[in-house]
Homo-oligomer: 193 residues x 2
C-alpha cells in the first residue's frame, strides 16, 4: 500500500473502533492489527495518538459534513424538508445498527471535550460547521415564510443540533427510536414553525 | 475504616475520576491509590469492574435525583419556576468548573450505552426517573394553565432532558455557557408555553 493509502486505512479502521469503544479505550496496537499494518509503524504516519485524533476528527468531520451537504443541496425542496430528510436518514442508520454506535463527533466530544484541549478545538470546528449548515436551511425556510419564528436562525440551529445530539445519546441508552422520533416531532411541529 | 465506609470512598473517588476521564479510561488501581485503600482489596468490595459500575451509577443516580427533588419539592413555586431554578443551578455549577466535567450519567451513557448491556440498563433507569421528575413539574404547569401545550408532559419532559444533555455536551466542546443559555431560553420561552 502507498503511504497515503495506509494512513487512510488506519484512520478508517480507527474511526470505526473509536466510535463504538471510545478514544482512550482503543489501543493503537488494536487498530494496527485490524488494519493489517506492521507493528510499530504507527509513528511513521502520526506524531502521537493526539495527532491521530486530530486527523481522525478532520476526516470524519469532512465525511459527515459532505453527507449533510448532499441532503442540503437537494433542489426543489424547502429548508425544512431538507432537514427532515437528513434527520430521518440518520434515524434509519441508527436503527440499522440497533442504536449501538451513536455520533462519533458527539461521542468524542463527551469523552475528550473536558480533558484534551487540542482535540476539543477540532471538535468545536466540526460542530460550528454543522451548525452553520443547519442554520442555512432554517434561513431558507424563514425567507420563504415556511418558518415564522423570529429567533436567530443560528441560535435555533445550535439548539436543534444539540438537542439531536442529546437524543442520539438517549436512543443508545433506551435501545429504542423513541427519543429521535420525539426530537423530529417536536423540532418540526413545535419549534421550527 | 468500616467496610461500608471504604466501599463508599472507593465509589466517591471513582465517580470523580470517571466523570472527567471516562469509565474504561480509569484504572481500578488509580482509584484505590487515591482512596488510600490497599492494593488488591477492590475485589473484596466489588465482584468486578462492571459490578462497581452498577453501584457507581446507582449511587450517583440517587444523589442527582435527590438534588432534583430538592428543587422540585420547593413550595410556593410553579412547575416552570422549579425547572428554571434547577437548570440555572446546573449551569452555575458547570461554569464554576469551567465546563470540563459534564453530566456523569450523560458521559457514561455516551461511553457505555452501546457496549455494556448491564450498565446500559442501569443508566436507562436513572434517565427514566429523571424524566418522570421533569414531567411532574410540566404537569403542574399544565394543570395551572402556565403551560398551554397539548403535548404529553412525559414526551415534553424527555425532549427537554435530552436537549439539556446535548447542550451539556456542547458547552464542554465550546468552553462557553452559550448552548446552555440557549437551551434555557428556547425551552422556557418557546417550548414550555
Amino acid at each position: 500500500m502507498a503511504k497515503t493509502e495506509t494512513k487512510d486505512k488506519i484512520i478508517e479502521i480507527g474511526a470505526e473502533l473509536i466510535r463504538k469503544k471510545g478514544f482512550n479505550n482503543t489501543g493503537i496496537q488494536e487498530i494496527l492489527n485490524l488494519a493489517g499494518v506492521p507493528k510499530g509503524s504507527f509513528y511513521f504516519y502520526f506524531k502521537s495518538k493526539e495527532d491521530f485524533g486530530v486527523e481522525l476528527i478532520k476526516t470524519y468531520g469532512n465525511y459527515f459534513i459532505a453527507m449533510m451537504q448532499k441532503y442540503f443541496n437537494e433542489e426543489n425542496l424547502s429548508g425544512k424538508e431538507k432537514l427532515k430528510n437528513f434527520f430521518a436518514s440518520r434515524l434509519n442508520f441508527m436503527q440499522e445498527e440497533d442504536f449501538s454506535g451513536g455520533c462519533p463527533v458527539g461521542n468524542l466530544s463527551q469523552e475528550l471535550g473536558g480533558i484534551n484541549e487540542v482535540l476539543r478545538l477540532e471538535l468545536k470546528k466540526v460542530f460550528n460547521t454543522m451548525t452553520n449548515l443547519v442554520a442555512r436551511c432554517i434561513s431558507e425556510s424563514v425567507e420563504s415564510g415556511e418558518i415564522k419564528s423570529e429567533k436567530d436562525p443560528g441560535e435555533l440551529a445550535a439548539f436543534v443540533l444539540n438537542s439531536w445530539e442529546g437524543a442520539l445519546m438517549r436512543v443508545k441508552v433506551d435501545k429504542s427510536p423513541f427519543a429521535l422520533e420525539q426530537f423530529e416531532e417536536i423540532t418540526f411541529n413545535h419549534l421550527l414553525n
